[in-house]
Amino acid sequence: MSSTRIDNRFADLKRQGRAGLVTFLTAGDPDIDTSFAILKALPDAGADVIEIGMPFTDPMADGPAIQASSQRALKGGQDMKKTLAMIRNFRAADHATPIVLMGYYNPIYIYGVDKFLADAKTAGVDGLIVVDLPPEEDDELCLPALKSGLNFIRLATPTTDDKRLPAVLANTSGFVYYVSVTGITGMTTPDTRAVNASVTRIKRHTKLPVAVGFGVKTAEQARAIAQCADGVVVGSALIDALQATLDTNGKAGASSVGAVTRLVANLAAGVRGARRGAR
């Protein structure tokens, strides 16, 4: 597989000697226009890689913030076609920032795997994270995705022991997403010492960059994690910042986009200010 925007971006970050900031937003939350405005503003605010959530009615691995965000998007009529169209529009102006689609398998399966991969590739998607597809189900989407030139980014977790890691890493590409806590998104704050040890452990098994997420909320946490990881993923905290600007009907206001970009800038400063530890 030739190198993707994700590979190029992490190679570039390595040359700069710093970790990357990976930010998450849910497509269509709280409406398609606001969501697109946030997406467009993210690179300048300091996001190095962008994860876009494909909303799903039953997000089993997500905490309350992302659950609510999915429901707002679905209520606003978001669907897969609109999500892919939003990325196509983003790509017209930004050719460098990697885009990773993240979500659950059913909406992809129903859209049709081959059609999804073709349309995602055309829209300018670079990688996929599908929470409910472990390596045991690689035939479903992972292998076809790799064949079509998309990265398939796998989650590794505290329960993924050394014996299992090779199986998890086997068909992973782009980067490894280390879930720093056992649990759902946005709930527990990771213990940076334990994260450090885990990143070191994963790096013994792979040359891929390792990004760490689940529960990162502040610039300080981002800075601490950026000292050992190649990327820091922030999701629920950005959704919370957006949610705080919505009116009682869940509608966006004048401050919605700015609330997200301000926090992204803040987190980016944290990530960029990290002193890279002895590697």
């Binding site: 799903f56 009615t57 039953d58 997000p59 089993m60 691995a61 905490g63 309350p64 659950q67 429901q71 679905l74 669907d79 897969m80 659950y104 398998y105 059913n106 909406p107 992809i108 399966y109 129903i110 859209y111 929470v131 409910d132 597809l133 472990p134 045991e136 189900e137 796998r154 989650l155 590794a156 977790t157 505290p158 329960t159 993924t160 022991d161 299992r164 998890v168 879930v179 056992t182 649990g183 759902i184 709930m187 527990t188």
Partner: protein
């Protein structure tokens, strides 16, 4: 779609990856994958251990009260023969009820829970979580946790908490913590989401006791195995009573554990007709129902591929049924497979039909059935008069209906 090839046996599934044809599988987050593999291994070892089976049989006899009777429903039979005669016929099947309502805790759920709780004990997991719809699985889990001295947390949609108060009180009395789930449609599917979120958070000490033949492998297989006591007993009892196999089996299907337990031991008896009855709610054409085979298509949710109710964009629809136990937008993967192969015939019954069957059963047999098996009884009332008198038909009376009296009274507007 081309019909799948007929297997030599319908009792060979799942394969080593948990698939029944295209259905089943292990669609779970990585955090849970090692736990599911550990569970599969532990279950395999327990299954091969004669001591495990001996202990289980002991509890089934002395605590659950098995075997449950296979009861000749004489007045129901007579009534349906009367209907046949009024239509100028001379038939009417002989109806038997498999009395799972007489088990301790009042439903078939306990058969499975006993097995899983014994397994949890064997695996050294002190904390049990479960999801529940009607509350029968929650009550069974709370009961077994009390008996085995384990912590118990039950997730239940807040809509179900409101309509199944007696079971909420039973669970609390038994020492379980009942957590009302406010997300999504606030029913069984959301309770399952929340239980999965708990499990992914408390992996080290927690065992997830799933109540039906769904979820990631090995659950559909394991729950089926534990429920097969229903069909195995039925086979022996029918031989003792009539000297032969039944001609047909019928059971209600939400996730489908009572049905799979009755059906499985008969799947290779080609002459035995098998019917599964889904909940048609307000009617299949209203969109307000829980019939995933009749109104859904294959998709992936809660760890397995199976028939699901969903939108064109792959978003899961809310199910609707008067019966909280059938109010789920999916079905066990093995049922999906058996449907496609044509081995099990899927039918449905509406809320109204279930209510009528419920009342008829109370008055003719002195048995208050749960609303879930009342759906299957509704189809018995339709099918039995068309069958000859020597046709032996077994209905799985999967649970008692005391829990449903308040909602039945409400639906009938005090005309009970």
């Amino acid at each position: 779609m081309t019909a799948p090839q007929q297997p030599n046996s319908f009792r060979t599934g799942p394969d080593e990856r948990g698939h029944f044809g295209i259905y089943g599988g292990r669609f779970v987050a990585e955090t849970l994958m090692p736990l599911i593999l550990e569970l599969e291994k532990a279950y395999g070892e327990a299954k091969a251990d004669p001591a495990f089976k001996r202990e289980m049989d002991g509890h089934l006899t002395h605590y659950v009260g098995r075997p449950s009777p296979l009861y000749f429903a004489e007045r129901m039979t007579k009534h349906l023969r009367g209907i046949a005669a009024a239509r100028g016929g001379n038939g009417g099947a002989k109806i038997y009820f498999k009395r799972e309502d007489l088990n301790h805790t009042g439903a078939h759920k306990v058969n499975n829970v006993l097995g899983q709780i014994m397994l949890a004990t064997r695996m050294g997991k002190p904390r049990i979580i479960a999801e529940t719809g009607a509350g029968m699985h929650g009550v069974a889990t709370a009961t077994m946790c009390a008996k085995f001295g384990l912590e118990c947390v039950v997730y239940m949609g807040s809509v179900d908490v409101a309509r199944q108060q007696p079971n909420v009180l039973r669970m609390k009395a038994l020492g379980a913590k009942v957590v009302p789930v406010e997300s999504g449609s606030k029913t069984l599917k959301d309770a399952m989401n929340e239980a999965l979120r708990d499990w992914v958070t408390n992996v080290a000490n927690t065992f997830y006791c799933i109540g039906t033949v769904a979820g990631p492998h090995p659950y559909p297989m394991m729950v089926r195995d534990f429920q097969c006591v229903i069909g195995n007993e039925t086979r022996e009892q029918m031989h003792a009573l009539e000297g032969r196999l039944p001609n047909s089996l019928i059971a209600c299907i939400g996730g489908g554990s009572n049905a799979m337990g009755l059906f499985y031991p008969f799947l290779d008896d080609k002459d035995v007709e098998i019917y599964g009855v889904e909940a048609a709610g307000h009617g299949l054409n209203t969109g307000m129902h829980a019939a995933s085979v009749a109104g859904g298509k294959p998709g992936v949710l809660h760890g397995n591929r199976t028939y699901l109710l969903m939108t064109e964009d792959g978003q899961i629809n809310e199910a609707h049924s008067i019966s909280a136990g059938l109010d789920y937008p999916g079905i066990g993967p093995e049922h999906a497979w058996l449907n496609d192969l044509g081995r099990v015939t899927f039918l449905s019954a509406t809320d109204e039909e279930a209510l009528a069957a419920f009342q008829l059963c109370c008055k003719l047999e002195g048995i208050i059935p749960a609303l879930e098996p009342a759906h299957a009884l509704a189809r018995v009332i339709e099918i039995a008069p068309k069958k000859p008198k020597d046709h032996l038909m077994v209905l799985n009376l999967s649970g008692r209906g005391d829990k449903d009296l308040a909602s039945v009274a409400e639906h009938l507007g005090g005309k009970m």
